[in-house]
């Protein structure tokens, strides 16, 4: 299958604890397997500076692209032969969409206060491992319909 696939999206805090995570692969069947992966990944990436540019590493034979902002650590995981730049674009889309929705204050407190927005953004980026959207404006737009009423329609993207 040559379709690009995302294995997980993780948002962890500065101690490696979960803020919001979503897994799309059976590779980590139990919660403890997931936690072990998160711990391992967090440990490997802790010392790097992924604030200006997104960074990249290999963890358990998977490619992981990651980006840090304030006290939040964003990760996206793909298979070992995935196009790294493609994955990075997805992560960037999610990241920028969240920035748009949270009015550029992206830290743990804001994230937790607006966890519903975070969950919705993640939901609008990847559907069961399949990339749904990478454009931050489009993602943010799909999430921002709280203020519209029921008869509103989305304008053409």
């Amino acid at each position: 299958n040559s379709c690009p696939a995302v294995k997980n999206i993780l948002i962890l805090d500065s101690e490696g604890k979960r803020v919001a995570v979503k897994y799309y692969s059976d590779e980590w069947p139990t919660n403890s397997a997931k936690l072990a992966f998160e711990k391992s990944l967090f440990g490997r990436t802790l010392k790097s500076n992924a604030r200006t540019e997104a960074e990249i590493t290999i963890c358990d034979s998977n490619i992981v692209i990651y980006k840090f902002v304030q006290d939040l650590h964003f990760f996206i995981t793909g298979g070992d032969d995935e196009n790294e730049l493609l994955l990075a674009t997805v992560l960037q889309g999610l990241f920028d969409a969240i920035a748009l929705r949270l009015r550029n204050t992206i830290d743990k407190r804001e994230a937790l206060e607006n966890l519903d927005v975070i969950f919705l953004c993640i939901d609008e980026v990847v559907d069961q491992g399949m990339i749904l959207e990478t454009d931050a404006n489009a993602i943010a737009g799909k999430v921002a319909i709280q203020n519209m009423d029921a008869s509103a329609t989305l304008s053409e993207q």
Binding site: C3, L85, T89, R109, M130, I145, Q157
Partner: protein, 841 residues
């Protein structure tokens, strides 16, 4: 302080809160908050019991009564998260179906996603109509939702999704970027087994307009697939669609450029000409400020360097600056690439850079670098001194077991493959075990020393290192050291007196095993400390591997259960090409597959014991066709004055047992050969391969050739497959095998040289011969080259066995060693004379 709105959150309390979902007057904000809390709990690893999940689910379904969009979105997410069972799903089906046909685009899109997530086959057929409409909906979010759902549903309900082909096809033409992407992905999956259809799809899109980088990446992948499947390697002109891939290297999106570059590097049999534009682009990425780009580029170049190191050398300067990259994965990849592409003169400089780098990286990266250094040393054996020193130095630094084992394995491989490195390598290993914390490594090294040490010019210098282990280590290592000492004593007669003195001291060791071993060796090595030879059978007894290892069992051991006849081991298949070279851990008494091993096997047969050194053995040649009753292949062993044919036989009939199996060889067409001995096979049961040997004498030093016809002769007894018992009486029978030939190439050893030109120039011009041949019409230039290489039986050098497509001429360099230890170099120039005739000089 660690602020969190979820501080102190507790599942029970939240489940209680969820009762508000049942309120007649729903408060959307409040309900959204509760859903968020529930999602948070699930996200943190909290689990709901079946009862709890069901209750929450039912409560959530009540929320369809609210018209609040924000709340509805949360409901959709919640339903997906709860994964309701089939009977629960029914409750929401009608609400979701209503949403699926709602005017609100957001509802349509998401209801589709939820429905398709929780649906089964029957429900799916009910909503199929709407899904097909959704695929061509003018709202791209709706279309994408349906298409993506289709992609998932293809796994579980392919027959249904395939019915949507027309709509999907239409969606591929969509002007909305991501709709095209999703439609393309789905269409390809539907059609992927139809090669023609995929071909058509690719053809039309590579000419048409692709509206998003994502879709372009997909197209590149499908194009690669089409290229792969259009078999023709001998086609004139360029590869189909290569131009398209090359054009993508100029796309404005970096992910597309990279996808295309990578695809080009992965083309089957890619040529340097095809690679060049891709590598140019990757080289630019190496100096990007974005780590993701640098990483992607260096990883791809690293793979290319494995098969086309010359193509990557232009990037060496950029690679060298990546050694200090902050991202350690990038740095390691850069180093291992340089190790593959570097030439002999850059090795020293490279090693200096790597030394500083090694202390900075984790063990798993270090192991990768060690493997690359080993390959480098095998490529440039003259550099063994500095590379071995490097390995020895890092061996003595801090590191875990796997890392140290990797280094030791590499040193062992270098010792085995580079004769000049043996002595220094063994010494490095000796120095290592003086201070090694891993018992496993110490014992393995001691064992290895026992094999290689006695063969060196001055084995005595290793004795001190070995004996020190007996003083200073734990019992396991001490026992290993005792065995090694004994081995030295057995193999090197002059060392016996010294070894005996040392072994006697071991009789007072604390440990049983150590004392027992010392006692055994002292009593069996013979000579009682004098300089006498140890018998071959004693050596075999002490140090040979057991044919059948002793298994632990509850029954007392009965000596009579041990078979008294010397049974030769069944030979395994030839080692798979490309298998990683094994270090210390390699099982020693495996099937013979080296000259040493075969020599040992043959000299253990008394009739062949005095044939001298084995010059060469051939690859097995099949003497029977596939699927016959008896499968026989033959290995030809070439000695100075003899040849031995080893017939490997397998009986594939469960109902038969063959006995007294011999091969009757007719050598009337091989006048220079005379049969001198044969060793038949006593018994050949079903599926248990055995060997028959027939030896011929031939004039010494003469590369005699001839044809031999072979007939298998045996007594066949019927076997009852259910009991495995054979009848007492048998019937004599014969089975004709194919002919075998001894040819000139059998007298040629394939031995490569790393620098052909140097080797050629150092040879005396008096020994050069030139000749020209017309080979007549051949299938292709490549076929002619291959045929000559096989005929001569020599080793192609510097990759010259590969003939580029569409060449009209080719030079092939071969080297080998002819019987009598004569070094031979051949330079073949091929040319196409007319359409098919090949001329060769």
């Amino acid at each position: 302080a660690d602020y969190s709105p979820f501080l102190g959150i507790e599942k029970g309390a939240v489940l209680q809160e969820a009762r508000v979902f049942n309120d007649p007057q729903l408060d959307p904000r409040r309900c959204s908050q509760v859903i968020t809390k529930l999602l948070y709990l699930l996200n943190q690893g909290e689990t709901f019991t079946k009862v709890e999940a069901t209750e929450v689910f039912f409560a959530v379904t009540k929320l369809f009564q609210s018209k609040d969009i924000g709340l509805r979105r949360m409901v959709y997410v919640m339903i997906k998260e709860l994964s309701p069972s089939a009977d629960e799903v029914i409750i929401v089906t009608s609400s979701l179906m209503k949403d699926m046909t709602s005017k609100t685009d957001m509802y349509r899109a998401n209801a589709i996603r939820v429905l398709c997530r929780i649906t089964d086959g029957t429900l799916l057929t009910q909503i199929e109509r709407y899904l097909k409409q959704a695929i061509v909906d003018k709202n791209p979010v709706v279309a994408s939702a349906a298409l993506v759902s289709g992609i998932h549903l293809l796994q579980t309900n392919p027959e249904i999704v395939k019915r949507w082909s027309n709509e999907v096809q239409e969606a591929v033409q969509s002007r909305a970027a991501l709709v095209q992407f999703h439609a393309l992905a789905l269409l390809h999956q539907i059609r992927q087994n139809d090669r023609l259809a995929v071909n058509k799809l690719v053809s039309s899109l590579t000419k048409g307009s692709v509206r998003s980088p994502l879709a372009q990446c997909l197209l590149i992948r499908y194009t690669s697939q089409v290229i792969r499947e259009s078999a023709n390697n001998n086609q004139a002109g360029d590869r189909p669609f290569y131009d398209f891939l090359e054009g993508c290297l100029r796309h404005k999106a970096e992910m597309v450029i990279f996808e295309a570059a990578r695809a080009i590097t992965e083309l089957n049999g890619v040529t340097s000409r095809e690679l060049t534009p891709a590598i140019t682009v990757l080289q630019l990425f190496l100096s990007s400020s974005k780590p993701v780009l640098r990483f992607a580029a260096v990883r791809t170049l690293n793979k290319v360097a494995m098969t086309h190191p010359m193509a990557v050398t232009n990037c060496n300067i950029d690679m060298e600056s990546l050694i200090s990259d902050q991202n350690r994965s990038i740095a390691t990849l850069a180093i291992t690439t340089l190790l593959k592409t570097g030439n002999e003169s850059s090795v020293d400089r490279l090693m200096k850079q790597i030394t500083n780098f090694m202390s900075d990286i984790a063990d798993e990266f270090k192991i990768v670098v060690v493997d690359a250094i080993r390959s480098l040393c095998l490529k440039f054996p003259l550099k063994h001194r500095s590379l071995m020193n490097f390995l020895s130095n890092i061996l003595r630094e801090e590191g875990g077991f796997e890392y140290k084992k990797a280094i030791v394995d590499s040193i062992v491989i270098l010792i085995r493959d580079i004769p000049e490195a043996k002595e220094s390598g063994l010494l490095h290993l000796c120095e290592f075990i003086e201070d090694c914390e891993f018992t496993y490594l110490s014992t393995q090294i001691l064992h290895f020393l026992g094999i290689e040490g006695p063969k060196t010019s001055d084995p005595s210098k290793y004795i001190r290192y070995i004996y020190n282990r007996v003083h200073l280590e734990n019992a396991t290592v001490r026992a290993g050291a005792v065995s090694t000492l004994a081995k030295f004593g057995a193999m090197v007669d002059t060392l016996k007196p010294r070894v005996f003195v040392l072994l006697r001291r071991c009789l007072f060791d604390n440990d049983d095993e150590v004392r027992d071993r010392a006692t055994l060796y002292l009593n069996t090595l013979g000579g009682d400390g004098a300089v006498v030879e140890t018998g071959e059978d004693v050596k075999e007894f002490l140090f040979g591997s057991l044919y059948i290892p002793l298994e632990p069992s509850d029954d007392a051991f009965d000596i009579n259960s041990v078979p008294k006849e010397v049974k030769t081991q069944p030979l395994a298949e030839k080692k798979a090409p490309g298998k990683k070279p094994t270090g210390l851990g390699a099982p020693p008494a495996g099937p013979p597959s080296t000259v040493d091993a075969y020599e040992k096997l043959l000299s253990s047969i008394p009739e062949f014991a005095n044939f001298g050194k084995l010059f060469k053995f051939s690859a097995p040649v099949e003497l029977t066709e596939a699927e016959t009753e008896y499968a026989v292949n033959v290995v030809k062993h070439i000695f100075d004055g003899h040849v031995v044919f080893q017939y490997n036989c397998t009986n594939t009939i469960p109902e038969q047992l063959l006995e007294n199996v011999t091969v009757i060889v007719d050598a009337s067409e091989a006048e220079e050969f005379a049969e001198v001995a044969s060793k038949p096979l006593r018994s050949l049961p079903y599926d248990s391969p055995g060997q028959i040997f027939v030896a011929f004498e031939k004039p010494e030093g003469v590369p005699a050739v001839g044809k031999f016809s072979n007939m298998l002769r045996f007594i066949v007894k019927e076997v009852d497959p259910s009991t495995g018992e054979a009848e007492d009486d048998g019937v004599e029978d014969e089975y004709q095998l194919e002919e075998l030939e001894v040819v000139a190439a059998d007298y040629m050893l394939k031995v490569g040289v790393s620098n052909f030109r140097n080797a050629w120039e150092t040879m005396d011009a008096d020994y050069e011969r030139v000749d020209e041949y017309g080979l007549g019409p051949r299938e292709s230039l490549a076929e002619a080259v291959n045929a000559v290489i096989n005929l001569l039986g020599m080793q192609p050098c510097e990759g010259t066995e590969v003939v580029p497509n569409n060449s009209r001429s080719h030079t092939c360099l071969l080297s080998g060693v002819y019987i009598g230890n004569v070094k031979v170099l051949v330079r073949l120039q091929f040319g196409l004379d007319g359409p098919k005739d090949v001329a060769m000089k």
